[in-house]
């Protein structure tokens, strides 16, 4: 089992969700987040007071999937979320030790 965390541009969420659903991914967790990477923030000016906004709004998707699906899922996310411009985001892959479905007590891949 692996956890895929993808930080993407907010307006790409629908495309990414649709392409993951086509692959048979049955669930995901989505969070509105803020952060920065190489993409610079922007400045806002209110009556002469200038503020630099470093943290830009992004969307974080988390999915837990069996090892066999990792390549297909990552490819799908990268393809759907890509605009080719700076600020497209990142994908992180990490191992999951175990998973439990609370309703049934199922464990491991059956639980995700």
């Amino acid at each position: 089992m692996k956890k895929i965390e993808a930080i993407i541009k907010p307006f790409k969420l629908e495309e990414v969700k649709d392409s993951l659903r086509e692959l048979g991914v049955t669930g995901m967790t989505v969070t509105e987040v803020k952060g920065f990477g190489r993409q610079k923030g922007h400045t806002e000016i209110y009556r002469g007071s200038e503020y630099t906004v470093d943290f830009l709004p992004k969307t974080k998707i988390e999915v837990a999937i069996p090892d066999s699906q990792v390549k297909a899922v990552v490819d799908a996310i990268v393809k759907a979320a890509k605009t080719g411009k700076i600020g497209d985001g990142k994908v992180f892959i990490s191992p999951i030790e175990d998973a439990i479905r609370i309703r049934t007590d199922e464990r491991g891949e059956q639980a995700v």
Partner: protein, 479 residues
């Protein structure tokens, strides 16, 4: 001599009549002739004094319906400027942890000032007294009934004039709140405002607008400074704006000012408030004619044009300077145009109003963007930058551009020689005196309040958490 003798006899008779009330009833004035009755009607339509005054019993001795209807509407419009216009305009500009504190201050002032006005404020501002302050004859609204008070209007009830002027008294301290937002104790603001009303608003309103005020150039033959202020450039915007500057410097900057971002939390609210201010301002300026007459309509037009010119000028400067006209720029420019035309609105022609609006937008942009940055005071919501700067410029320009073509009252003997010549100098004198008076009074009152309330400011912890939760036990936004 021929006319003096009968007049003296009449005055003596009236004076004696006050000693013998029953006899006075017997000495009732004669019935009006048909000429006099028609004359009274014409006076109503033209907003002039009754021709029966002192000569015969008027058949329309009370208020006139048309003028009263407009003035009741105007009073409600001016209240609408504060509740909720100014409250939302300011509320949108603070951080979201402080929105309720601004609303509480506006509501609190509306309540407290209304009660002060009833108790003695109206009497001190508009009762006859000395040139410096009114008397107490109208305390608790004694003799303020439905009969007109000829000192201020022949055709609206005295009580309506009183309540209309109350709305000005409410918005003035509420304007000051903008400069000290997000850091002053609620108790200190309330106590400061009460003392400030007695030290600044009631006296200055009397100086400039009281029938025997020593700066009331328009109506008082004996005025030492013959200034004009149609709707409150001196009385409202200069007093509140200059006091705001003094108070925000005494108070000090907000924590983290200049280091951490403090952007407005909701510019949509700010825009809603701006629209309400603009609409309400028709009651403020056109209502200041105290009648539904031609002067009122001219003020309505000049107010519109100045607001429009300000609304265009400020964002136009932004567009030239950095390529983006901002919503806050449109809002600020419109309010600046409105504040600046206020003292001149009933005295100048529409073309001049456009010029005043353009100057208002440019000057207040400069004050908020350049002067504030250079001197580094924390006028949180730019009460000084918009209202003091706008009100001061407008007061001066009213003196330069006032014309009898816009307002026939300027043709009165007491002032006509000044119009078009040195009226501006009278404006400078009145403005400078009120400026100094406001600033000095504010500093003194702030010291007194600081002792009474154990400091003017909330603690650092309270300021960090926000005033809504700590001072009022509520939050503006949940979820």
């Amino acid at each position: 001599m021929k006319t003096l003798l009968p007049r003296l006899l009449l005055v003596t008779a009236l004076w004696c009549a006050t000693f013998a009330a029953p006899a006075a009833e017997a000495a009732k004035k004669p019935d009006p002739t048909i000429e006099q009755r028609v004359g009274d009607l014409e006076a109503y339509v033209n907003n002039g004094a009754r021709v029966t005054d002192g000569k015969a019993e008027s058949r329309i001795s009370g208020a006139g319906p048309g003028h009263s209807a407009w003035m009741m509407t105007s009073a409600a419009l001016v209240l609408f400027m504060t509740l909720p216009g100014l409250a939302l305009f300011y509320g949108g500009l603070v951080r979201k942890k402080n929105i309720l504190s601004v609303l509480a201050q506006c509501l609190g002032l509306a309540g407290v000032v209304s009660l002060l006005w009833w108790a003695c404020g109206y009497s001190l501002a508009f009762g006859k007294g000395s040139g410096w302050l009114g008397g107490m004859q109208h305390a608790f609204l004694r003799d303020v009934g439905t009969d007109p008070n000829g000192d201020y209007s022949a055709w609206i009830p005295h009580s309506l004039f009183m309540v209309y002027q109350l709305m000005f008294a409410i918005i003035t301290p509420a304007l000051t709140v903008g400069a000290i937002a997000e850091r002053m104790k609620f108790s200190a603001i309330m106590l400061f405002s009460v003392l400030w009303m007695f030290a600044v608003y009631f006296p200055v309103a009397h100086w400039v607008w009281g029938i025997d005020g020593w700066m009331n150039g328009l109506w008082n033959d004996g005025a030492k400074i013959k200034a004009i202020d149609f709707a409150g450039g001196i009385v409202v915007h200069m007093t509140s704006g200059w006091s705001a500057l003094a108070l925000c410097i005494v108070l000090g900057k907000r924590l983290g000012h200049g280091k951490e971002p403090m952007p407005p939390h909701n510019l949509a609210l700010c825009m809603v408030g701006t629209g309400m201010l603009w609409a309400g301002w028709y009651g403020f300026n056109a209502g200041s004619a105290v009648a539904a007459d031609g002067v009122a309509v001219n003020a309505f037009v000049t107010t519109t044009l100045s607001a429009a010119a300000g609304c265009v000028t400020w964002p136009a400067i932004e567009y030239v300077m950095r390529g983006k006209p901002s919503v806050l720029g449109f809002c600020s420019g419109a309010v600046a145009g409105l504040a600046t035309i206020t003292p001149a609105s009933g005295f100048v022609t529409p073309g001049v109003a456009v010029l005043i609006g353009v100057m208002a937008g440019a000057a207040t942009w400069f004050a908020c963007n350049i002067i504030k940055a250079k001197f580094k005071y924390d006028d949180s919501l730019d009460t000084f930058g918009v209202h003091a700067v706008g009100g001061t410029i407008g007061t001066l320009l009213a003196g330069v551009f006032a014309t009898t073509a816009a307002n026939p009252n300027l043709g009165a003997d007491r002032i006509k020689a000044l119009v078009g010549s040195t009226l501006w100098l009278e404006q400078v004198k009145a403005g400078a005196l009120v400026l100094v008076w406001s600033v000095v009074a504010t500093v003194v009152i702030a010291k007194i309040v600081s002792v009474c309330c154990d400091g003017l400011r909330v603690s650092e912890e309270v300021e960090t958490i926000g005033l809504d939760l700590t001072e009022h036990g509520e939050e503006g936004y949940h979820g």
